[in-house]
């Protein structure tokens, strides 16, 4: 396998806009015993309590100002669900993000589907 090393990726047409790619992503399951379904640049998931999990990155971000895009749901089940950054004095950090999953009634939920991508400086 070969590696392509570049600093920026620009569109070849339409003015050469730059692309940003996710620096980390993960999909996980909190139902039963927590599990990582698949991930990139994530070294571990920690089950911190009902619906709450910590993702630790394989390699740190340059700062904690990264953007997180996440989704949560119950596979093969009904009802809407929500995912968010779990509040804390020093969360997120450059190496970890604590996330919580909820039902619409604002109760923490161990959901079968959690997914997130992280965009930021590394």
């Amino acid at each position: 396998m070969s590696t392509i090393k570049v600093n920026d990726i620009e569109e070849a047409t339409s003015g050469g806009g730059k692309f940003a790619v996710a620096r980390a992503w993960a999909r996980w399951n909190m139902s039963g015993t927590a599990a990582i379904v698949d991930s990139f640049n994530v070294s571990s998931l920690t089950d911190l309590g009902v619906g709450i999990s910590r993702k630790t990155f394989s390699n740190n971000f340059a700062n904690a100002d990264y953007c997180i895009v996440g989704q949560a749901g119950r596979l093969n089940d009904s009802g809407n669900r929500i995912i968010g950054v779990h509040g804390g004095q020093s969360n997120p950090t450059t190496s970890t993000t604590d996330m919580a999953m909820f039902s619409l009634a604002s109760a923490y939920n161990d959901l079968t589907y959690g997914a997130a991508s992280w965009f930021g400086d590394t």
């Binding site: 015993t33 990582i36 571990s44 920690t46 089950d47 630790t56 390699n59 190496s95 161990d110």
Partner: protein, 131 residues
């Protein structure tokens, strides 16, 4: 590879909270066992710098030193690890340092197999780690 191991641990600063369960990433374990990790000290230096910024109330403006950050990718690799060694490295990287670097009157973490972790959270929340 899919590791069958998990690390259960208590945070010495929050002993009233339920026991936590760390799940290693299969992709990270593969990288570790293929010898693609830098020395653990690379991550400790980054953790120390960020913790200092948090303690001094300047985390919102904090940026890692570019050279220390780049060492994650440029430091000489430590060579292939066994599964056990990879888990020990991960404990020192991803668990709170107080769990493994300080002495306590009972164990603060244990490596277990996935089938030893109850899937029912009611049982798990009642756990207390014994020697």
């Amino acid at each position: 590879m899919m590791t069958q191991y998990r690390v259960i641990f208590d945070d010495p600063d929050a002993l009233d909270e339920p026991t936590k369960v760390l799940v290693p990433s299969d992709r990270w374990m593969k990288e570790a066992m293929e010898g693609n990790l830098p020395p653990i000290s690379v991550y400790w230096e980054l953790q120390d710098d960020e913790q200092q910024a948090i303690a001094e109330g300047r985390h919102s403006e904090f940026k890692h030193d570019p050279e220390k950050l780049a060492a994650q990718y440029t430091a000489p690799r430590i060579g292939p690890l066994t599964e056990q060694e990879a888990l020990e490295y991960l404990i020192m990287k991803d668990l709170p340092r107080k769990c493994w670097a300080e002495e306590h009157n009972r164990p603060m973490f244990k490596i277990v197999t996935v089938d030893q972790v109850p899937s029912d959270r009611t049982f798990r929340n009642a756990w207390e780690m014994a020697a």
